[in-house]
Point group: D2
Chain length 349, copies 4
């Protein structure tokens, strides 16, 4: 660990926050100063058990957290006011990050927001392999949502190399996260997002500014991974092999195959667990290679991929820190470091 | 009941077969001669309890059915050979219908196949409100699958009135039927159909011959109703209200609204049960009115609908019988009789 | 319908309320005056569509209901104050009934509460075939919960005839009801009730005062029917056949068999739908006949049954009205009328 | 790694086999010679990717595995015949192990069977903390199923220290494993095991020979972890604290608490993933501390625990190897080594 390592605090130790904390701990050029949250249940006790210093995101939460049995070091604002933090990764629930922005601004701390915040909150929306340079030196950057990140990696890669005229994507979302599946889930149903098109299409354009993208989405009765069904109208004639070639060169995209017995999202989750990452995480976007099909006239491409919603934005947060702090000026170099440290591969099996 | 009522046998008393039997029993111009099947479990005992005569679809199944406790009247072939049947509704598992065709041919009996069979097995694929006349007087007709029927009613109606240039539809299928959910289901996953595009697109063209339709499909972790997400490129500029007008006039299509608390497929199932149909069935296609959206340039239409997979083809089977036997020459008149007898409406609540 | 039919209002048109309303509509000696509720979504619009007069349970809800598009006749209190109601069936959410008691008391109206209320709210807890006489002429009666009703029918019957020393029952509950499965469900989990023993045991003793009953319960990841696993220590030696004999004579208990292909709760739901009751309801308790087993020494009995949580208390509400209003003094006679009108049987298939 | 490390082959690289292989790789006194299986899908490719030598369990499977793209080193029998293996961990599907026994016998190789085999196949059924000495020097040992292991750890510990007169346990099983959840699952149902009592009770007696244990079981609509609801009649009066004391001293049993937000099996799975074990595994039995309750007279104890079905038998397999090969004569010492190497703890958070 360099003595000049970037000092990072993770605000909001939830599904994304805890994974970003783990990932940052593995980087050579950054370190975790602590985490902050508002509750004192098993999740925060686990953070303590892992050795993180725990702060209260808001002063009024200190008491409750202590009552829950968590030893709180102080408040987030105290810590920021001491100049102890270079970058806050804000992984609080959607909308809370926007309210926190003033706090970060007050102390001149850089902050990364997640995809639940609007583009305008940060001004820069980020997917490392698409627009790393837009984040260089910025105070505020937004790592886009898991769905948008997946689209930017897969459709974005195809668009950059082969030219996508119109992308139409159907999204089957996981309903809720694993930890909250005991009280706010959905059962034996599909719940459509009736605001059509869904926000994912416009959101992709905050990163891929010239992409004609429309998405429709619905929540499925499962709690892990989204499934995307992409129908791409191309600028020129292409073959399925053209698409395979592009995705073979794209970082953080991997192939799986039905012919290898990869039948569904459950198979991919089992692969992820077998791959030995912490929590069974998957940072890459798994594309079913045998789903990639061109229309007879070569003007449309169809393909399916999974979006590991808990973890695919984790490396983006790491790269965003490097870009914002100018630890590294080139996307390729930051991605290479991150991927090496997190064990990100181009071949899962 | 007319003394000249068409005599119908239902071969395969499963999810579709039992519902078609119930529906035919309610028609003024047809009657159930019996049902045939190959097992003797509670499902067939229930058929007996309802008063149907039960036959064995194959001679070698008689013994097993009797051993299961079912009083079998004889074999299907016996019955056909006596000239006791005018039309067989073949609702056997996919592929079995094709094998049964020779039997029906041998005795000159008319037969309806279901969507699990190929178009070529019958030569005519049928959705009453689209191509009733194609079935007039035919010996063999295929009622297309629940998904294709839904597409023909919704997209077909829009295409006929407003002109659809290209239809792209994402389908989230129910994984299995309720009765078999105790052994061949899927759990906490989504299983994509890797043959892309899925068969539903080409299948729609067996009915709507000039429709440019591509579909992608996946199985969701639920066992009731499919959800369709339609993205339609239009020949001309249209508004959402144009589409609402068309669907308001289309038979067997109804509106539901998120603003009325209709959140998901589960809500629709609850509505269906409250509507008082047998088994909580729904013969109509429920379209979320508040999902219908036109793109800014009016050249694309987006909308979502549910497909009640157990029951939406039931009225089609009834109408097909009328067309094949020429009981009724006009689609509108057959649809009107069927709908009146089954309680099919344009407004669920 | 007798001109002196008991006039009933159903307060709370939810899962139980709407079914009780349907059941009362089928009785020769009672009629529905109207229903009252607090929302104006599709569920209440459906009540209007069925022809019920709709009232607001609370004056402050009138506006919202009208805004939702429901034509409200007035408030519940107005109606009660006019002497237009003999009995209110209060099927409001747990705890609300207790608050409503004062209102019913103020106008001297009889009221039935459901199992979500405490025994003390009514003073009499009711299962028709166990303690009908306790409800005769009472102003307030509580129909116990679906789980307790099931236990009183099955274990209660065995206890009365054969003597149960100690009943120990494990309960796998459905997590939520179908209509709410789009937002408060549980997913891919089991959620134990950590207050052990669960309330069901003591609750059974409000009806079966001398039964030593302990229950443990957990919510399963399904939304229809509970499963009960009963382990009964007997006063004397018994055989499985003794238990079968008892349950064969017990009203509102039916047998299903794994050997007939009845594999799980899903099979029973399919049977219920095929049985032709409104909404696919099941008023009886289905016991797996082939699960009934005696220990080698004949001192313990094990058996499993399903609890159709949406509908098994419906006939109890009907019978409670007869007892409270003294329309009928004998349990057997009330049960016979109710069962005939609702199509309740001793053999499902 | 000692040069005299015990050489282990894992036959059957499924849910249990792959985890046992990982666990053995972490032990100081044993090493994996290879794994054998019968298929060539992604699961076996993953084994190759992890560096294991892959063998075909049966000669006739070599071709298919190679065709699937797996580089097979040879057959299991070849390897055994060369004397290259000291112990086979047979983790093949239920019933296959019994057929394999002759093969292991032919070459004088020691073998461990899993809980899907009958007690008689091995003659010794094993749970390390209960009967380690029974396995000392044996050629064949059976590690009992996940459910039986959990019962032996929890109820067994209570029985040894406090005296259990009769144990009655309700089991809500996970329906299928994650990898197979795309084709043989159950959906929105509970499927009871109609052979009552279930096999788990008698099975526990193969390890705890004097325990009066009866179990009833059903499959729930989830794919991770079983839930056990225990009702224990005690020899003497006890308190909940007595039970907590016992379980606090019992190896491989940990406490979780509803008051810490541990609501269901999903919470425990999230804890397991956060705990940093490979695949998010959990080797301990999590007992809800706040479920432990004594009856008023102190003669009954009620408590609930989860059974991490994929992984709780993994340390037992490791200990069984040490006992059979007499690497270690004392249970406590083997358990200590295994637990240290696998990170097994007494406190998860």
């Amino acid at each position: 660990m360099s003595r000049t390592a970037v000092r990072v605090l993770v605000n909001g130790y939830g599904v994304i926050g805890k994974r970003v904390a783990s990932a940052i701990s593995r980087q050579p050029d950054m370190r975790i100063i602590g985490i902050s949250d508002v509750v004192g249940d098993w999740r925060i006790k686990m953070a303590k058990a892992k050795g993180y210093d725990v702060y209260a995101s808001m002063p009024e939460k200190v008491e409750g957290m202590k009552r829950g049995g968590v030893d709180v070091e102080g408040t987030l604002e105290d810590l920021l006011s001491k100049g102890a933090v270079d970058v806050v990764v804000d992984a609080t629930p959607a909308g809370v990050g926007a309210r926190n922005k003033a706090l970060y601004g007050r102390y001149g701390v850089k902050a990364i927001f997640q995809g639940g915040e609007r583009h305008g909150t940060a001004g820069v929306s980020f997917v490392a392999q698409r627009n790393y340079v837009e984040a260089l030196g910025e105070q505020f950057v937004r790592v886009v949502s898991c769905n948008t990140t997946a689209i930017c990696r897969v459709v974005g890669g195809i668009h950059e190399k082969l030219g996508v005229k119109k992308a139409r994507v159907g999204i089957i979302r996981r309903a809720v996260d694993v930890w909250e599946s005991s009280h706010v889930g959905i059962m034996n149903t599909v719940v459509p997002e009736l605001r059509v098109p869904s926000h994912h299409g416009p959101d992709a354009r905050t990163v891929m500014h010239d992409l004609d993208m429309v998405t429709m989405a619905a929540k499925g009765s499962h709690n892990l991974f989204h499934l995307h069904m992409g129908m791409l109208e191309m600028e020129d004639e292409v073959t399925g092999d053209d698409v395979i070639d592009v995705l073979n060169r794209e970082p953080r995209v991997v192939f799986v195959r039905g012919s290898d017995g990869v039948e569904g999202l459950n198979s991919i989750f089992e692969i992820a667990r077998d791959s030995g990452r912490p929590r069974g995480d998957l940072y890459e976007i798994p594309v079913w290679e045998d789903s990639i099909t061109a229309s007879d006239d070569g003007r449309e491409i169809y393909l399916m991929w999974a979006t590991p919603n808990e973890s695919n934005v984790v490396p983006e947060n790491v790269d965003a820190i490097r870009a914002m702090t100018e630890l590294e000026g080139k996307a390729e170099r930051s991605i290479a470091i991150t991927d090496e440290r997190l064990g990100i591969v181009k071949k899962l099996y």
